[in-house]
Amino acid sequence: MAAHEAHAHHDTHGHDHHEEGFISKYIFSQDHKMIGKQFLLTAVFMGVVAMLLSILFRIQLAWPGEPSDFLSFFLGETWAPGGVLKENMYLGLVTIHGTIMVFFLLTGGLSGTFSNLLIPLQIGARDMASGLLNMMSYWMFLISSLIMLFSLFIETGPASSGWTVYPPLSALPQAIEGSGLGMTLWLISMSIFIASSLLGSLNYIVTVLNLRTKGMKMTRMPLTIWAFFVTAVLGVLSFPVLLSAALLLMMDRLAGTSFYLSDIIIGSEMLENHGGSPLLFQHLFWFLGHPEVYIVLLPALGLTSEIISTNSRKPIFGYRAMIGSILAIGFLSFIVWGHHMFVTGMNPFLGSVFVFTTLLIAIPSAVKVFNYITTIWRGSNIYTPAMLFSVGLVSTFITGGVTGIILADSALDISVHDTYFVVAHFHIVMGMSAVFGMFAGVYHWFPKMYGRMLNTRLGYAHFWVTIVGAYGVFFPMHFVGLAGAPRRYYDYSVFGDFNTNSHEMIMDLNMIITVFAIIAAFGQLIFLFNFFYSIYRGPKAVQNPWRSNTLEWTTPVEHVHGNWPGAIPEVHRWPYDYSKPGAEEDFIPQIVPLRAGEEGDH
C-alpha cells in the first residue's frame, strides 16, 4: 500500500515540477495508453491506404480497360498509362492491399491498439510489464509500415505474388517484376513486423499473468482480456514459423538454396535447384496463416463481448462457455491449416484429417454466436454506435462463418477454391467482422483514449453506410465465385470466349460491387472526420460514460502515469454484474465489495 501511495505522490509532483517534454510524451512514450493511440493512428492511416488501393483495382474490375482519371491521378503514367491500370500493378495493388489489411490494420492495429490500451487498465496494472519493449514494438511496427508503403513507389513495383507470396513466383524475379526489389522489401518489412508483434505479444502475456490486481482471478477477467491473452499466445506460437518461412525464402532468393525450388526453367533459363518443395512454404505459411485469422478475429470478439454486455445491460451469457470457446478456437486453429491446401497436391488422406478438424471449429464458433444472441435477448439494449457495430459483427460472423462450412469440406472446396467465393467468405468473416469490432472498440473506448466523446449521430451515419456498403460489396461476390470466376484476375474477358452468359453475369455483379465499394469508402470519410474533429473539439467525457463495470472506468479522465492516482483498486466480483436482482443500479463495478449474502461470480 505504502509503495502505491508513494508512487502516486511522485506522480503529482512530477507534473508540478518538470513538464514532460513533447518528445517523451508523444513520440518516445513508454506509457501503454499513448502507445495504444500510436498504434491506432498508424493503423488508421494504413487502413485508409489499403482501402484506397482496393478502390483503384476495383475500378479496373468494374470497367476493364476504360481510362479513368482517378487511376491516372493516383498511379500516373508509369502504372496506369492513359488511365488504364497495368496488369502487373493490378497484382501489386491486390497484394499490398491484402498484406496491409491483414497484418497492419487488423493484427498490428486492432490487437496493438486495444491490447495496449486495455490490458493494464482492465486488469488493474500501472503499465505493461516492460514499457521499453512495448515502445520498441510500436517503433518496429512503424518502421515496417513505412517500408511496406515505400515498396509501392519503387520502379519495379511492389511484391505482386499475392499476400500469401507463394514461391516459386515470389522467389524468382524473372517470373514477375514485383518479385525483385519489391519482394525483398516485403520480406524485410514483414520480418520487422513479426519481431514487433512478438515483442508486443510476450509483453501482453507476461502482463496478464503477473500484474493482475488483488482479487482479479483469471475467472474474473473481462472477456476482452481473455481474447487478447489467447491472441498473444497464438501470435507467439505461430509468427516465428512465418519468420522462418520468410528467412528460407530469402535464402532461396539471395543465397541460391533450394528450400522451395526444384526442377525449374524460367523463361529460357534452366535453374539448378533440385529437391526443394513449394508445398513446404505453404505448410509453413498456413501454420501461421490460419491462426492469423483468429489473431485478427479474437480481439474483435473480445471487444464486442464487453460492449454487448454493457449496452444490453445484461451479463454476457455463458461467461465460462465463452472462455472455453476462446480456448477451443485457439487450440483448434493450430491443427486446421491444411484446409488451405486441399488442391495443392497434398496427400488426400491428410486432407480428410483437416476437413475433420476444421469443421470442429464451427462448434465453439456457433456457441459464441448463440451466446451473443442470448445476451441480447431480453436485454435493455442501448444502441450506441459501438453497440450497432457489435450487432453488425455478430451478423457478419454468422454470414461469413456459414460459407466456411462449404470451404472446409474438401470435396466441395475443389470447385470453389481460389474463386471469388473464397474472397467473399474471408472478407465477410474476417474483414468485416474484425473491422466492425475495431470500430466498435474505437467508439466505445474513445472517451478513455482522448477524454472526449465521438459524435453519436455521425457514428450512426457511419455505421449504416458501412454495413450496407460492405455487405453490398462482399455478398454478391459469392455469386461471382459460384459462376467460376477465379480470384486475382486482372479482368474476366476470357469468360467471353467460352460462356457469354457467365461473362455478362460477372460483369454486372462486378459493377454493382464496385459501386458499393465506392459508397462504403465515402462512408469512412464520415468516420475520419468524426475521429479527428472529436480528438480536438468533441464534448468532454465523464469518467464512466457507459455505466460500465470494468476497471478502466475507475481511472480519471485525464491520463496519468500509473493509471490510478491513488492505490490500485481491488477487485471483488466478475465484470458482468449488470441488472443484478437486488441491486439499486443496473451496474455494479468490479471494485464494489459483495454485499452480505450476495452471491459472487458466475
Binding site: V391, I406, A411, S502
Partner: protein, 425 residues
C-alpha cells in the same frame, strides 16, 4: 480545372459537416443532453432500422439466389461433379437455413428488446441446458456434413482405374500443353534438364538425353563456345559480363555432368513409353471422350499454376518438381451442354487458378468433349502415322526430329512390356 473544383467541393463539404456538428453540439448543450445519453427516440429509430435492414438484406439475398441460382456456371459435366453438386446444394440449403434463422434471431431480438423506460434487463448469466443444446445440435449436423463430404472426397481422390486414359497437362507461363499417353496408355518419363525447343515437355529417351548433352556442350551458347570466348585473349569483357559468363559456364558444367549420369543410368527400354505419346502444341485444344475416365497428371515448368475446369468441378495445382493427379469422367458432350445452356457458343475450358504472373488471367485452354465415334475419329488422326498427313500426327516418334529411324529401331527392340524395367531417375 476539374481537379480544382473537386477539391473546393470537398473542402466546402467538410466545412459544412463541421458546422452541422457544431450546431448539433450546441443544441445538445442547450437541452442539457450529454453525448453518451442516447435519447429513446434515437434508440428506437436504430432498433427499427436494424429490423428494416434485416428485411432488405434478406430480400436482396433471395433476389440474388433467384437471379443467379446456386451455380452460375451451369450443371456439372462430370460424373463426380454431379455427386458433389448434390452435396453442395444440400450444404447450401443447410447453411442458408442457418443464415436466415440466426440472423433473424439476432436482428429480431435486437429490435424487440430495445431499452424501454422502466423495463429492467433480465438477469440470465448462464443455463447449462441451453448451452448443451447449441453445442450438440451443431455437432450432429456437422457430423453428417463431414461423413457425406469425406465419402465424396475419398471417391474423388481414389486411384484411377486401369482403363482410365492417362493425360498430362503441362503448364508454363502462360499456356497449357497436352500430352496423351498413346496406345500403351503409359506416359513416358521426363526430366526437366532435357527441355529444348523440339522437346518442350522434356521427355526422356536415349536420343533426347544425347541431344541435350550435345546442345549443352556444342551449341552456340554451349560449354565449348563459352570456354573459347573466355579464353580468347583478344576479347575483353566488362567485369559484370565476365562474371555472368563464368557463372553460366559453371552451371552448364554441373548440369551436363548430371546429364551424363542420367545417360549412364538410362534404360533404353523405357524409350518406348515416350515414343507413342501424343504431344500437342502449346494451347492446342484438349479433346476428351464422353463417359471415359481420365487420369490427369499435372506438371509445371516454372511457377505454381492451377488447372481449373469449372464445369467438371475439377481443380488441382501444378507444382514445379512434382507431379499432381486428378481423375474424372466427363459425362456431357460439348454439343449436349450447348443445348442445355441454350447457348450455341458455349465451350468447356481449363483456366489457370493460381496467381502465376502478369498474364495469369489469360492463361486458358479450350476443352471439347466428343461422343465416342467422333472421339475415335479424332484420336486416329492424331495418333496414326499417315505420310500424307504427317503434320497431323502428333506422336513423339513422329514429331521429334532426326531421331525417327533410331527411335523406330528402339521401339522394335523393346516390344516387351516396359513396366518391368527398373525405373531410374
Amino acid at each position: 480545372m476539374t481537379k480544382l473544383i473537386v477539391l473546393i467541393v470537398i473542402i466546402l463539404g467538410v466545412v459544412a459537416i463541421a458546422q452541422l456538428v457544431r450546431m448539433y453540439e450546441l443544441s445538445s448543450k442547450l437541452r442539457n443532453r450529454r453525448e453518451e445519453d442516447i435519447p429513446n427516440r434515437d434508440n428506437r429509430l436504430n432498433a427499427i432500422l436494424l429490423l428494416v435492414f434485416m428485411f432488405a438484406f434478406f430480400a436482396s439475398v433471395i433476389y440474388l439466389f433467384s437471379e443467379y441460382g446456386f451455380s452460375g456456371r451451369g450443371e456439372a459435366a462430370s460424373v463426380h461433379g454431379k455427386a458433389t453438386d448434390w452435396l453442395l446444394d444440400l450444404n447450401l440449403w443447410i447453411i442458408t437455413a442457418v443464415f436466415f434463422l440466426t440472423n433473424t434471431l439476432l436482428f429480431g431480438f435486437a429490435f424487440k428488446y430495445v431499452r424501454k423506460p422502466g423495463v429492467k434487463a433480465y438477469w440470465f448469466p448462464h443455463d447449462n441446458r441451453l448451452e448443451l443444446v447449441w453445442t450438440v445440435v451443431p455437432a450432429v449436423v456437422l457430423a453428417i456434413i463431414i461423413i457425406l463430404g469425406l465419402k465424396s472426397w475419398n471417391e474423388q481422390t481414389d486411384h484411377a482405374s486401369k482403363e482410365a486414359i492417362r493425360v498430362e497437362l503441362f503448364s508454363k507461363q502462360f499456356d497449357w500443353t497436352v500430352r496423351m499417353a498413346g496406345d500403351d496408355n503409359t506416359l513416358g518419363f521426363f526430366d526437366y534438364k532435357l527441355t529444348n525447343d523440339n522437346n518442350p515437355l522434356a521427355l526422356l529417351t536415349t536420343k533426347t538425353i544425347q541431344d541435350a548433352i550435345d546442345s549443352m556442350e556444342n551449341s552456340s551458347t554451349g560449354i565449348h563456345a563459352l570456354e573459347l570466348k573466355l579464353n580468347d585473349p583478344k576479347l575483353i569483357f566488362a567485369p559484370e559480363d565476365h562474371a555472368l559468363m563464368v557463372k553460366d559456364l559453371g552451371a552448364k558444367e554441373r548440369i551436363v555432368r548430371m546429364l551424363y549420369q542420367l545417360k549412364a543410368r538410362h534404360n533404353s527400354a523405357l524409350d518406348a513409353r515416350a515414343m507413342d505419346d501424343i504431344v500437342f502444341n502449346a494451347s492446342d485444344t484438349l479433346y476428351l471422350c464422353k463417359d471415359q475416365q481420365y487420369e490427369f497428371n499435372f506438371r509445371s515448368k516454372d511457377v505454381i499454376h492451377s488447372a481449373y475446369f469449372p464445369h467438371f468441378r475439377v481443380q488441382m495445382n501444378t507444382v514445379p518438381g512434382q507431379t499432381t493427379r486428378f481423375k474424372f469422367t466427363p459425362s456431357v458432350t460439348t454439343m449436349e451442354m450447348r443445348d442445355k445452356m441454350s447457348n450455341p457458343k458455349f465451350n468447356y475450358v481449363l483456366m489457370c487458378n493460381k496467381i502465376c504472373g502478369s498474364s495469369h488471367y489469360k492463361m486458358k485452354l479450350m476443352v471439347v468433349v466428343l461422343d465416342k465415334p467422333a472421339y475415335k475419329k479424332w484420336y486416329a488422326s492424331v495418333s496414326k502415322f499417315d505420310p500424307k498427313a504427317a503434320d497431323q500426327c502428333k506422336t513423339f516418334r513422329n514429331i521429334y526430329p532426326v531421331g525417327k529411324p533410331k527411335a523406330a529401331a528402339d521401339l522394335t527392340a523393346t516390344a516387351t512390356p516396359a513396366d518391368s524395367a527398373i525405373v531410374t531417375k
